[in-house]
Subunit: 378 residues, 2 copies
């Protein structure tokens, strides 16, 4: 018996399967067209099912941020980049214990971390590929100069059980509209060129030069030297992605289905999706609010509490009734997925499938011995 949207309890994330298929196809085609290797970041969907489809459509491997993501994705993938500093005993141990059928690579920006990583790799009976993370303007992580990149690469090259694999950068600071990214991309290309040249001169040419991120993904082929991209958001897209021109509004595949629960206060309607369903991510583009309605983009979520979202009705003639369902396009979809355990796949108004956000948690602390007694004070 078919289930329809109106039967679902809200708030719940809904994925339009046709839009998802289109988004997957579009990025795969872009990468193929430009000879870029596609290594999608799973942080957006955290689902092995979608990851398997990305791989089937030509992705060379996957990108993960957490070890939980990497462990879950090992079920469907043999080549995983943990694009995160390999720092901390637990993280190193989990890296070393990844299944042997998986080729594991990491990104590092500190020589101090490499010795422990080398030990972990050796104890895990494996070789770990290491990309040097370069800071090309994001100012988050990454070495600051080509000289430091060369020093890191030499250190990696000498370290037992590690292999220097190339360069990684994250162009997350390039958030302008896709048609206004020229200056940022040109600067990126010049900076990146110096890193590639320095490494090549040092006899350690980077095999992989990995960039990406959805906002700049469609123009990554214009940056000389880049041969791999790591976009994540493109599978679902979101309000920010649409607003900066990296997708159309009609490409937003994930919405949060919500119910109007109060119309008591004038000029607004309250839905049951608040911060615990939408996050409180700003729109990283022109515009306000924390999300907008798929079918009434002029209606934004202007305020939120934990379980309340306030729809601002001042810019619309639409008047919702108590109990109406709405679909909210969130500002930042990766945060929304992380807030739920399950996602529902729909075609039109019919529920077709559902899948777990299997890589959502953190998990390894759960394996520690549990204390035999409850807390004395609680």
């Amino acid at each position: 018996m078919a289930t329809y949207l109106e039967q679902l309890e809200t708030p719940v994330p809904i994925v339009d399967l046709d839009r998802l298929a289109h988004n997957l196809d579009r990025m795969a085609a872009y990468a193929t067209l430009h000879g870029l290797r596609l290594r999608p970041h799973v942080k957006t969907h955290k689902s092995p099912r979608i990851a398997a489809e990305q791989l089937r459509m030509g992705a060379v491997g996957l990108t993960c941020a957490t070890l939980r993501e990497a462990e879950v994705m090992a079920d469907v993938c043999t080549d995983i980049l943990v694009a995160y500093p390999p720092v901390g005993a637990a993280r190193l141990e989990r890296l070393a214990r990844m299944p042997q059928h998986v080729n594991v690579s990491v990104a590092a920006d500190d020589a101090q971390a490499l010795d422990a990583l080398s030990v972990a790799a050796r104890l895990g009976h494996r070789t770990i590929d290491v990309l040097v993370e370069a800071d090309l303007g994001m100012h988050r992580v990454g070495v600051a100069t080509p000289d430091r990149a060369v020093a890191m690469a030499r250190h990696i090259d000498r370290a037992p059980s590690l292999r220097f694999a190339g360069l990684q950068f994250y162009p997350g600071h390039i958030r302008a509209h896709v048609h206004e990214q020229d200056a940022g991309l040109a600067q990126l290309g010049r900076d990146l060129g110096m890193y590639i040249e320095a490494l090549t001169d040092a006899g350690l040419p980077p095999t992989t030069v990995s960039g990406g991120s959805t906002p700049a993904a469609w123009r990554m082929h214009e940056v000389p030297g880049v041969n791999e991209v790591r976009p994540g958001t493109y599978v679902y897209n979101d309000r920010t992605t649409a607003q900066i021109g990296a997708c159309h509004w009609e490409d937003c595949a994930l919405t949060v289905l919500a119910t109007v629960v109060s119309v008591s206060v004038k000029g607004q309607a309250v839905v049951d999706a608040g911060t615990k369903a939408l996050g409180r991510e700003p729109l990283r583009a022109e515009g306000d609010g924390y999300g907008a309605l798929l079918d009434h983009p002029e209606v934004i979520v202007s305020r939120m509490s934990e379980e309340h979202g306030i729809l601002d009705l001042s810019q619309t003639s639409w008047r919702p009734r108590l109990g109406d369902q709405v679909r909210i396009v969130p500002n930042h979809v990766c945060i929304v997925v992380h807030l739920f355990d399950e996602v529902i796949g729909v075609r039109g108004l019919a529920v077709e499938t559902r899948w777990d956000v299997a890589a959502r948690g953190r998990d390894s602390n759960r394996e520690l011995d549990r204390a035999p007694n409850g807390p004395r004070a609680v």
Copy 2:
């Protein structure tokens, strides 16, 4: 064998059990002192274990926002207020199906919702207590005038299987420092008085007048007529609560344990707690950032990505090293708890216990039949 903080994988929420005990005790004592009934909101901890302790210390019942919370808390509680509009078929069905040993009450602001609620209560072979939600300045939900409250109360009083129980309001707009709340509280008292008078004149005096929220909790006894409070945050407290003077810094019981994963970019350190561990909640008081270090409050989390938090080192002489652990006091603790499946209880540096955030999910859609086949497009 004891486990210590340094053995934990980060990011992970850590609760100082002594501080938790002190916080529970302090609010219970306040309520007892002033003859207020304490009905704590479980949204903050989402844990039946802490709820049971709140009840043991004198709470008259619990407040929930979601039906998942109510269902989980039914294991430890016989009197549950779902302080949320009873709108939507699934929500009504779950309300009706609550275990019979639980007295269920709800808050409503729309007469239209009452008929369906009455039917649900009758089908569930139960009587549901209904509080009329009044908007006393928050402008989120609630009826806007005493006249409407009277009309609602009459409607409830006439509806089969419903019982008019009183008034509820949420003073979430009173966010000033506790010593600067005088004007807000005075206005609240005047407005509330009109509602109580109108209902009393109509022959429907409110048995329960339920206010609360942690920021204004400590002064609720000054508002004439209020006989019940519903604070949630006080169990753990957070940076906002401390900043507005509703607790001391030393009362912040929950911190996010994080590891320094990069010190490559000058003037900052990067920890592995980003938006997916801390949320992106503003400090609702003087100050910037998304959290501050428990042991170095001058160090704030100034920027975040999903798995990266940037510590601003410009106001401190403290210099972290790669791999160091830090404890972050989040701006808004309720959001942090909702991001994790488990919380770890510590005494000093030793792990003493852990508990599930059992009421975190949403759940009921999981019970729908699963489609037999995978999605065609994925």
